[in-house]
Symmetry: none
Amino acid sequence: MGERRSDTRERIQATALELFAEHGYEKTSLREIAERLHVTKAALYYHFNSKEDIVVSLFDGLIAEIDATIAWLRDQPRTTETRRELVQRYARLAHDSPPGMRRLLQDVRSSMRELSVGEQLQERMRTMVRLLTDRDAPALTQLKCVMALASINAAMFVLQDTDIAAEERHAAGLTLALELVG
Amino acid sequence: MGERRSDTRERIQATALELFAEHGYEKTSLREIAERLHVTKAALYYHFNSKEDIVVSLFDGLIAEIDATIAWLRDQPRTTETRRELVQRYARLAHDSPPGMRRLLQDVRSSMRELSVGEQLQERMRTMVRLLTDRDAPALTQLKCVMALASINAAMFVLQDTDIAAEERHAAGLTLALELVG
Amino acid sequence: MGERRSDTRERIQATALELFAEHGYEKTSLREIAERLHVTKAALYYHFNSKEDIVVSLFDGLIAEIDATIAWLRDQPRTTETRRELVQRYARLAHDSPPGMRRLLQDVRSSMRELSVGEQLQERMRTMVRLLTDRDAPALTQLKCVMALASINAAMFVLQDTDIAAEERHAAGLTLALELVG
Amino acid sequence: MGERRSDTRERIQATALELFAEHGYEKTSLREIAERLHVTKAALYYHFNSKEDIVVSLFDGLIAEIDATIAWLRDQPRTTETRRELVQRYARLAHDSPPGMRRLLQDVRSSMRELSVGEQLQERMRTMVRLLTDRDAPALTQLKCVMALASINAAMFVLQDTDIAAEERHAAGLTLALELVG
DNA sequence: TATGAATGAGTGTTCATTCAT
DNA sequence: TATGAATGAACACTCATTCAT
């Protein structure tokens, strides 16, 4: 043997991500996940403590990376250069996430409103914005910061039905984001 | 005489809006709505055919206004001036909607994904963007258009925990939107 | 004026008969009846005391006629001639009933099991059979009697998908019935 | 070891059959079934996908046997001998079914009108009749065929309140059926 | 002769979760 | 490392019925 050691946990995560992205967290039932994996619901509970635990596990790599970014950000001066660098890091993060991840992220505010992980993510976002601008910067400046990050996410979805390629959409998002943080 | 005649329908709508905005459409049950109104669930069904019917009714004023805007838009040349005018109209629409409405709107993409009314609203949004830019405009241009409208919505929510007043947030959203379609 | 005097009651009966025959008594709701008549459910309650009251009213003409037949039957000798005469009367009754009525009759045993009117009708049937044969006649004789009457009802329905005309089906039912009591 | 392994599914079927036979399919609620079994409604859904699924499961042994009979019938010449043989097979089927089954069967036409399984059973019946007689046989002949099978069912119920024993009733039904198919 | 508004009790169904094996 | 069996709480929805107007 050697490094077998049940990939089931990973398979659950992958399937859950697929389905959460497709129908949303609330509308996806554990039954669906289990069925698509040809295991029983109870099996899910062997690997995770609850439904929420599954979604949390999906995000914790990302959250760690965001935390690292925040840590780095704390040591930087609040200059335009820093802001551009942050935008680029964030874009890379988004770009390297699986598509389901990005889709899920998009919905965090609404579908996962009452989940702790939702609150955690939003908290991180707020922190980043706070670290990017003075807390008493004008509303417009702060809004631009927020929309910069939002643009990167949005780019992947809002032009989906056009014939613009994914890479081009991503590039457009990054360009706009950079423009917004000036 | 005058305006008696059971305002229950309106009260249902108001309460539903409150709760949908607070917890999302899916997570709000008819029981909650009924209880908050001190009526039975069955009473809701006297006034509406289904849960979806309630949420639809909340949106249909707005949808009509968007349709009017779209109709107007079709007759305009695709100039910067038109774009600015549209942004202003849209901002006015958003500004005049009750806060719950705006919140609900924010979540249309995710919480109301499988509802016909969700699809309808997104379709309208796509139409507006298509009418604002050439269909073969560069991705960046199109994305800016989308983010312009998004900024107006977002302004109300993303800076909510700061000490910036609602009016100032709204103004910032409008300013950014104008800049983006500029 | 003169003989106006609301035909609503009759219209309710007609519509109820239609729907009861189509979907069965249980599966037909007062809402459906009311909607098809373009009146409110409450209007039904002005004309009838309950849902059961409606179905009872549909049958009471028929029950009266059956009672008359039973009264006549009591005075007859239990001869073949009497049996043939009864069969003919019953066939005429069935033939003159609206098709919905016959269909409903067919289902009395099952769909209206817990309704008093169902029990009443079955009771009448049993009485007729008892009056036709000695109570200690062999099982076969009694069964034939029952099946004779059943044939008349069944004829209208069981061959419905063939290309045999209604009149011919009815005639076949009568012929078989006569043969059975013969 | 041996035959442990939760007989719950079978117990659900037995109880459902009882209740369906007693009050009809529509009037029997899952709550009643569950209560009589001292389980929760949700337990029923562990074993069956829906209420209809339960009733379908009750019939599928019978349907298989009817299908076998039909298959056999297809290979036979349409002689009196074949008809008599069929009647005997059918009588055996009926005789070997639990009483609730027969009762339920009796009501298929009316209480289970909108259920697929109801349509399936009726379809089988029509097929048998078609295979028994030429499709252009006189109405009377076809009707006799139908009533032959009906007699076997009816015999068990119509004389139930007399003091005739079940076995004698069954025999009478068979005798009449044989007489009818000539 | 109706209607508008509402109710209480019920329906079938789905869910996340548990636990002995 | 799983499964079979079950639960309790909820859900959207429908029904026959009532009653003031």
